[in-house]
Symmetry: C2
Subunit: 395 residues, 2 copies
């Protein structure tokens, strides 16, 4: 049984920050944190010198406005430089920013609002809600609370797909596909004709984990990439999709995942005392490069066509870990500019929204004039190193 | 297609602490934390007075040795009272104990060792490993690392089932059941006859989150209940089970879950800056009591027998949130002492091991002389409030 994703809903965070403003904020925050952390040094630099130093580092390592024009955030702190008035980044108190507990409370508050908005006009209970995030863990979660508040507790099961990084849409989809199969058996055996639907909701508050005390160059890369992202979609079985009033959807043909051996130190996502923290090695692009062709070959081995046959008619949804990843994969696989254009524009408009990014690309594919029947090849990467991907068809 | 769990493997933590020693440690830690936190008060109590006060509170609220005789831990701190020599509880530095980052590093280190031991003699790759925990989140996880180290990255997918509290074995099982169904389709279509197996591994390091600065009476309940628990098992489809050399297994007939409305404030599991933190209201037992009969009725509506018909021949695996829960459910459902005895003995031997507890009970059922054909009714509870459960049959 093949299943189909559709019914995308996107919410934008409260604030949009242009990359120019964002990069200036990053360099100022690092300069001020460095200034405060070095307050007892004899050869202490002035804040003026540190601002220039950090601007240079930012210019060298951060993602530029030609690739990311804008990022969304729920945190008003990023709109100004009055450190002492900030909710999370009153750096005089702590150059790492607020403690994790405060950030998690904020995550809880915001995601509850987000779920309330997503579900405000949805009256039919899904069989399942899968809540996907790697940026905040609170239980009862926003997914559990919406189910309780809607009185859906007897019909809707909540599953947390947490801490699986940027590629988490794929484990969420394979979990959802399994639920549909089980529920279909159950629905058949009970001879009901009700809708077979699993909702997937991503709430990534990536900008919540900024930490100005982390000053390794790789942190300037990470901190200039991520934006908040919130997206809802549903997975239907074929029958339910026909009755869903959706005009278009993405039928999942293959959902595949691999872990590359000897790559475990290339990327990590850990919980610190103040923020969740990413480490990222410069080896990642080459490791992906070495493995991507085999990975795609493996995915296509589950279909009745070869990649080379259909490549020129495929659309590529590539998770933009950074802007270089898309370019890199485009070069290795000899892809056309057009085939990766929607991945690039989502990155440009919103930044890397962690696991919410690819669903944004999928939504933009369904909203484009790309015709039904076209294949969509999706790819994402995360700690492990994990390569995850899918082949879908627009239906 | 019904699936079967079997191949249980249990690892015990490095240290076993008798409840007498454990309770004394808790009261001493609280007394010393209180002493340090009140150091500027005028009417400061002596450490001697505080020891007596905290012993009284512990005696009043904590779980006694007649219900929990012993709990396991990986933390040597619990074996002595020399605060300044402790790894996590050098309370003079911080009465909350170590920062979360140190605890998460320890979690990572220990769970890697645990996975290495579980998998030391397993040569056949499963299709999936589902890693279940609510006590530590690190990526690459121990599950991802074992897959990378075993060179299983092209055949084994890793899924994290994190932050779902004590009932997480049930979402893990429904995820696993869905994977088996999907893989069966794939195996059929590829006409292979290989094993269809999903491994589920729980690593709960509950004792890692002790926090002596939290002194609400409910914290004395929580802190006297939890022990570390580590368990591995596999889910097979029927054919694979026959070829697995397992003598006995539990066939899953129903796997059900509900969220009770208006109960979201009764229990929570949150991430603090020093430790993960549980809140627990006194309303929980009565909320469970009000809903448990309907819940079991709903589970049995998916079978062809009624609960009342078969009740006297069922074994009950009840997650012992606390010892009162088992007693409470026994009373409401008029169950025999024998039918809940294995749940009580797991609690007594090891304490509440969060999501790892029920799998320990299942293992003890398979190791008992209870005959094949008997039904096993399992129940667990967590934030939401979520009630989760299953009906299985010994095969």
């Amino acid at each position: 049984m093949r299943s189909i994703i559709s019914s995308f809903r996107i919410l934008r965070p409260n604030y949009e920050v242009s990359q120019e403003v964002g990069l200036q904020w990053i360099s100022r925050a690092h300069a001020y944190a460095k200034y405060l952390d070095s307050s007892s040094f004899v050869n202490k630099k002035t804040i003026f010198d540190l601002n220039i130093l950090m601007e240079n580092i930012t210019n060298r390592f951060a993602c530029k406005p030609d690739k990311i024009a804008n990022r969304g955030t729920f945190i008003a702190d990023y709109l100004h430089n009055n450190w002492e008035e900030m909710q999370f980044f009153d750096l005089k108190k702590n150059t790492a920013g607020s403690q994790l507990q405060e950030r998690m409370s904020f995550f809880s508050e915001v995601t509850n609002q987000v779920f309330n908005k997503f579900y405000s006009d949805i009256d039919e209970a899904p069989q399942h809600i899968i809540h996907v995030t790697c940026t905040g863990y609170v239980s009862p979660s926003a997914a559990q609370l919406i189910v309780a508040n809607k009185n859906w507790g007897k019909s809707t099961k909540v599953t947390h797909a947490y801490h699986m990084g940027c590629y988490a849409a794929f484990p969420a989809l394979r979990i959802a596909q399994g639920f549909l199969l089980q529920d279909k058996q159950l629905l058949n055996s009970n001879e009901k004709s009700s809708q077979n639907r699993v909702d997937i909701v991503h709430t990534e508050l990536s900008t919540l984990h900024f930490n100005p005390s982390l000053q390794d160059p790789s942190q300037f890369v990470v901190q200039s990439l991520f934006g908040d992202g919130l997206i809802y979609y549903s997975l239907y079985d074929k029958n339910s999709f026909l009755y869903s009033n959706c005009l278009k959807g993405l039928e999942i043909i293959v959902n595949h995942e691999e872990i590359i051996s000897n790559s475990s130190d290339a990327m990590s996502w850990e919980i610190g005392s103040n923020s969740f923290q990413m480490t990222l090695s410069g080896k990642v692009p080459s490791m992906i490069a070495e493995n991507i062709e085999n990975f795609i070959g493996k995915m296509f081995s589950f279909t009745d066509v070869s990649f080379e046959e259909v490549k020129n008619n495929c659309i590529f949804a590539i998770h933009p870990g950074g802007p270089k990843i898309i370019q890199h994969i485009k070069d290795i696989l000899s892809l056309s500019n057009e085939s990766v254009q929607l991945s690039e524009s989502i990155l440009k408009m919103y930044g890397n929204m962690s696991s919410a990014t690819l669903p944004h690309v999928w939504d933009s594919i369904l909203n484009s004039d790309i015709e039904k029947g076209a294949l969509v090849v999706s790819l994402a990467f995360g700690p492990g190193l994990t390569i995850s991907g899918s082949i879908m068809r627009i239906v």
